[in-house]
């Protein structure tokens, strides 16, 4: 009995030691909650809010009142850009100019927490990394991933080979006739 308990407490200590920092209490504080509420109020798609929620839940992430104020300011600024342009978040893909402005605001908001936000204008994928390069958020525009076997490379190679053979065959036939 004692042996078992001993094993549990040792591994529990190791488990905590593997956590990111001294803030053992990972959870959402009031400032963080304000940010999340603001995101919800401005109708930011659930994908992004969920990602933000994951981030603030982490151990070692404690956003201060001052930081929260700055971030909320950027969220409001982005919202204003949208309403000035008269479009909703869903239409952003069609309006490159407005999209760039919104991305700028998002980048500034991320900077408040020393995070670097990058936006891929081809795939519409958002990536956020922290100062040490660790991925903190990844949001793609597709709903699902490709989770099937991909025979594309096989088909491509076989096609190229077939084409090569066909070319040689055609040339040979011409040669023979000539």
């Amino acid at each position: 009995m004692i042996k078992k308990l001993l094993a549990v407490s040792v591994s529990a200590v190791m488990m905590l030691a593997m956590s990111v920092s001294a803030f053992a209490a990972g959870s959402v504080n009031t400032s963080e909650q304000k940010i999340l509420d603001e995101l919800n109020a401005k109708n930011v798609p659930a994908k992004y809010v969920s990602q933000a929620k994951n981030y603030v839940e982490k151990d070692g992430v404690d956003i201060t009142e001052a930081q929260a104020k700055e971030i909320i300011a950027h969220i409001d600024a982005a919202d204003k850009i949208l309403s000035d342009a008269g479009i909703t978040v869903a239409d952003l893909k069609k309006d490159r100019a407005t999209l760039e402005k919104v991305v700028e605001e998002a980048k500034k908001a991320a900077q408040v927490l020393n995070l670097i936000l990058t936006f891929n204008y081809t795939t519409y994928e958002v990536t956020v990394v922290d100062a040490s390069g660790k991925t903190v958020a990844v949001i793609n525009s597709t709903t699902t991933k490709k989770t099937g076997a991909d025979s594309m490379s096989t088909v491509a190679v076989v096609s190229v080979l077939g084409l090569a053979v066909a070319t040689l065959a055609v040339v040979t036939k011409k040669n023979a006739e000539a």
Partner: protein, 294 residues
């Protein structure tokens, strides 16, 4: 001159493509026949007497489980047999490979075991430390769980999905390669209407290349024996994996050797025809105005 260099280029390209087709065909065939069938697993299991040794291991473990509970080895008399274990094991393995669900019927084992335990308890006048039926039920359930755990081969469903992916590709790629190869041989033949020795030369290049591609992996395996260094326990599982790999390698080796022999035959044919042609040429003093021989 120009026409013949075009012909040489086409023949070299055709030969190169043919070597790819022959190699792919040979490798696919050896993998499909030697590794990727449920049968190849079954053969390896049989050859290392996997289930027989598993049975012994299982019975040992069963005994060590029940003895602390106060029972003896004889409670297992007539409960499990090697044949039944084998048939359960094979059925379960096949189900996992095909990604279907197979429920092993444990009722007969459980019933017999329960009867045996009750007899043992009576005979030895054991007193149960609680509700006797519940305790016996717990013991039999434990043994049944153990049985299922022991007869399942790890990662069988993942292995099965690899097999299935290979089998799905196999027919299409195989036939494509075969048809391409036939066309390529026709090209080489058509390009050399007068000097048939050339045809065999280009064929030899391609088939020899196929032989090399197919022989290198098994020879590498035999030379380094790296697969024997995997750390897998228990012993019968290790033996099974090693035997499975060796059987597959052997098939690849055989196909490679066959290709090698065919390639040598092609070279011999090419030399023979060339000799005959030159011999004939000398005899009739018939001068051919075409390009020189390699």
């Amino acid at each position: 001159m120009k026409k013949s260099s075009v012909r040489t280029v086409i023949c070299i390209l055709a030969s190169m493509l043919l070597s790819i087709f022959v190699s792919v065909l040979a490798i696919m065939l050896s993998v499909e026949l030697g590794f990727a069938t449920n049968n190849s697993l079954a053969i390896a299991l049989d050859e290392v007497k996997y289930y027989e040794r598993l049975y012994e291991d299982f019975m040992d473990k069963c005994e060590s489980v029940v003895i602390p509970d106060g029972l003896g080895a004889e409670v297992f008399d007539g409960v499990f047999t090697v044949e039944q274990l084998k048939s359960d094991g094979n059925a379960y393995l096949n189900a996992q490979l095909n990604s279907t669900v197979y429920k092993i019927n444990l009722d007969s084992y459980k019933t017999k075991l329960t009867i045996n335990i009750k007899e043992y308890v009576e005979k030895n006048q054991l007193v149960a430390d609680g509700n006797e039926d519940e305790i016996i039920e717990a013991i039999t359930d434990n043994i049944m769980d153990y049985y299922i755990k022991m007869i399942s081969i790890p990662y069988a469903s993942t292995i099965g999905s690899i097999f299935r992916t290979i089998s799905a590709y196999f027919p299409y790629v195989f036939f494509a390669m075969l048809i391409f190869a036939i066309i390529t041989i026709w090209i080489i033949n058509k390009q050399n209407p007068h000097k048939k020795n050339r045809v065999f030369r280009y064929l030899a290049y391609a088939i020899m290349s196929g032989a090399i591609t197919t022989l290198v992996p098994p020879i590498y395996c035999i030379y380094t024996n790296f697969y024997t260094k995997i750390q897998v326990y228990p012993g019968y599982l290790y033996d099974f994996i090693v035997r499975y790999i060796e059987n597959g390698i052997r098939i690849m080796l055989i196909i490679g050797i066959i290709l090698f022999i065919v390639a040598i035959a092609m070279i011999a044919l090419s030399t023979y025809i060339k000799y005959k042609y030159i011999h004939v040429k000398h005899h009739h003093h018939h001068h051919s105005s075409d390009d020189s021989e390699a």
